[in-house]
Symmetry: C2
Subunit: 458 residues, 2 copies
């Protein structure tokens, strides 16, 4: 039977979209780098249907691109013209919240925010959180090992997945919906799928850790004169505060650009580094005295020159709005946002050297830096005057060559997809790439799952 | 060239032990189940030597058993007669502590306690901790994904490994000494080696997370009347205390046995469940008020009937000595200690049903339960009157059959090795076992690494 006929016969007409039924939505993730529509879209609503779809495609050696909320920034969910897209959008819903185990069992297509709200309703915090929470899906969060804004306290997505169900290329369902913190029974297969961007299997269900909901939070905006002092401040915060839940650093040019764009002013003079420090509080703990003692000690040691404690949620939101910098994208439409990581102590030098190199190549460009420094994660934001694709390519070359020199990672949280694929060798050795290819061949011998993503051509 | 000649030529005489040079030490781990000495022992002191040794053995299809501190309890490091043992005992030492990144780079043969002390000297906590800290080695901790007594706050060993270097069967060195919290550059190969008990590669170096040292700690011993109340107490502790660092539960018979053996008395009456609750404190935080408010709330809600707050380190040590129960092994020489996990809410029923089944089969046996319940980890301790190997086998059958019914894991923290190998199918599906074998074949096509361990014969 022809492939599409076989898929329709097995899955039903409503699961298989072709021709005009395929909307623009399926063309690209948020990197807007997708060039083609898939030739068919499958929207299975059960794990068994995902399994059948893959088994059929595998027999036909038909390539399949898994798609979640399409909020990625690395092109990982973009189809090529000959690909079938398999979207999890109809496999949604929370199957269980186990309050005693503090776990949530959730289907892959569930939007992150829906899962967060369900957790909160049950009195828990779902610790995975990122800007695109409204659109991104749990399956995609896991497939890309999403980072986000709570990593310093709760780790990356990998650290919050207890159990996983995934379907590999031949249709085999691997189900391990483990709810325990400790489970040493053979190879931890869930780790293969987390962060492999749909190239080893399609994630269908997960058991996620839930954490206690903080009762409140202390937030400060601190000003420091050097990166070294920022690092000392991080260490002091971890030692003196019970639960540091954010340590976000903005270099002066990033802070000023966004504060001005938002019409916000916090300090009378400019400072080289601005840091948002946040502490989660539990029970009756108001934390005020401890938080003030921390800031006083930081002053005393000369680590900070000024600091503001948010007196309300609105004030805290103001600090964060500068950090989020959502207006920046609109004001600088050609903005390139790079996502890298390296040992925390080296980030200051990297940023200085990277900034000099960018301005030498692109005089007059906007170059700024911010990052989840508590997670060793730096973002570089650059807008050249021409804003061309060639410029973007040159920016990549300059930034990633320096990352290699600094022993860092070319992708902290966005993944590799297609856009960083050709730089993977900057952060991983030829031996590691060879073993990745072995693993890929062992699990997907026909190479049908998301071909062209993550692994550079040999 | 003959294998041993080739090894000696490549590595030097002092690295290769044969015949009388091989002491009893290399026969068995702490399960005392090893039956044979290896026919040679290799003690390489560099990564390059490990690589050369494996490359030579792989060419000769010679099986190799990696050995660390030999403190395992599942037979994972036991040689068969034809095996070569590769011991990391000479590849020791801490290579770097990066205070800014809060990481330690350490060689695989380093005893855990040596690494802990080095971290403390630098003002940090190395969060991996277990009873055998004096003898176990970092490489073995990682290869078995060790659990231990700080998991509720810091996770298992897997959660504390940032970077890893390992040598696979053909001698390829895979080095990824990553120091960052976030690194999404292709497949996370370190996960393959963590917990695979030396069957996929030999771990040589690791980058471990360091955490801030607590300034002090609050400890209480609480008495409760039901397992359901214990679970509610756990949830309340997590909500009201900033950093619960232990939640250890003893069923009455375990508690009474050990308290009597140690000559300690805490309460006037017996209670069905005893719980050690501990909170880590940071900076100037004395935590006293918060801790008392938690216990008061637990009384008020009827979750506990009595509680003692340790007024000194010595009092806290007394609570812990009952929990550790080191005298138990001496008083009950045939004691079987099982290590299982399941969803926290199901553990109470499991223990009740398991206890009844054991006493029905072995009237008069000692049967007791304790566990890191905050980590979903239960230990079952049983001594029959005959104390035979047949009894031990029957105990396994009864306990693991029930684990399967309860959807649990037959190994929470001890691993599979040889002793639990034939029960692996109780916790993992045939599909999962098939994929594990694919992975094994992809990385070790000649099957030289720790054959006969973890994966049951097909």
């Amino acid at each position: 039977m022809a492939l599409l006929d076989e898929l329709e016969a097995a899955l039903g007409d409503d699961v298989v979209l072709t021709g005009d039924q395929i909307s623009e939505r399926y063309r690209s993730d948020e990197s807007h780098s997708g060039r083609a529509l898939p030739f068919a879209v499958l929207r299975p609503a059960t794990v068994e249907a995902v399994s059948q779809a893959l088994a059929i495609c595998d027999r036909h050696c038909q390539s399949v691109v898994p798609q979640g909320g399409l909020t990625g920034l690395a092109g990982g969910a973009n189809p090529r013209g000959g690909d079938i897209a398999l979207s999890l959008e109809r496999f949604t819903g929370i199957e269980e919240i186990d309050a005693a185990a503090a776990t949530m069992t959730v289907r892959a297509g569930t939007p992150l925010e829906v899962a967060q709200q369900a957790a909160e309703k049950a009195g828990f915090l779902l610790p995975i959180d990122l800007g695109s929470r409204g659109s991104c899906q749990i399956g995609g969060n896991i497939a890309t090992n999403a980072g986000g804004i709570r990593v310093i306290r709760h780790g990356v997505t990998r650290d919050n997945v207890l159990g996983l169900e995934a379907v590999i290329a031949d249709g085999t369902i691997l189900s391990s919906l483990n709810k325990t913190m400790k489970n040493n029974t053979g190879y931890d297969l869930r780790q293969l799928f987390i962060g492999s961007e749909g190239t080893l299997g399609i994630i269908t269900r997960a058991v996620l850790k839930l954490k206690p909901l903080p009762s409140s939070r202390s937030t400060a905006l601190c000003a420091a004169t050097s990166y070294e002092k920022v690092v000392s401040l991080l260490r002091m915060a971890k030692l003196m505060l019970a639960n540091v839940s954010a340590f976000e650093v903005m270099w002066d040019s990033y802070f000023r650009f966004n504060a001005e764009a938002l019409g916000l002013k916090f300090f009378d003079v400019d400072h080289p580094f601005l840091v948002i420090v946040e502490e989660d509080l539990f029970g009756n703990d108001q934390g005020g005295e401890r938080f003030e003692a921390f800031l006083a000690a930081a002053f005393e040691e000369g680590l900070i020159d000024d600091a503001l404690i948010a007196q309300s949620e609105k004030e805290a939101r103001n600090f964060w709005s500068v950090r989020e910098g959502y207006t920046m994208d609109k004001m600088l439409p050609s903005l390139v946002n790079l996502d890298i990581s390296m040992a925390i102590g080296r980030i200051g030098d990297y940023a200085a050297e990277c900034g000099r190199a960018m301005l030498a190549r692109f005089p007059g460009a906007h170059v700024s830096f911010f990052g989840h420094i508590g997670d060793s994660n730096l973002h570089v934001t650059i807008a050249t005057q021409a804003g061309t694709e060639d410029d973007a390519h040159t920016i990549d070359e300059i930034a990633y060559d320096l990352v290699r020199q600094y022993g860092g990672s070319i992708s902290a949280e966005h993944g590799i997809g297609t856009l960083k694929r050709d730089y993977l060798g900057h952060s991983r050795s030829p031996q590691e790439l060879a073993v990745m290819r072995h693993i890929k061949a062992a699990l997907d011998p026909n190479g049908i799952l998301n071909p062209g993503k993550v692994l550079p051509p040999v």
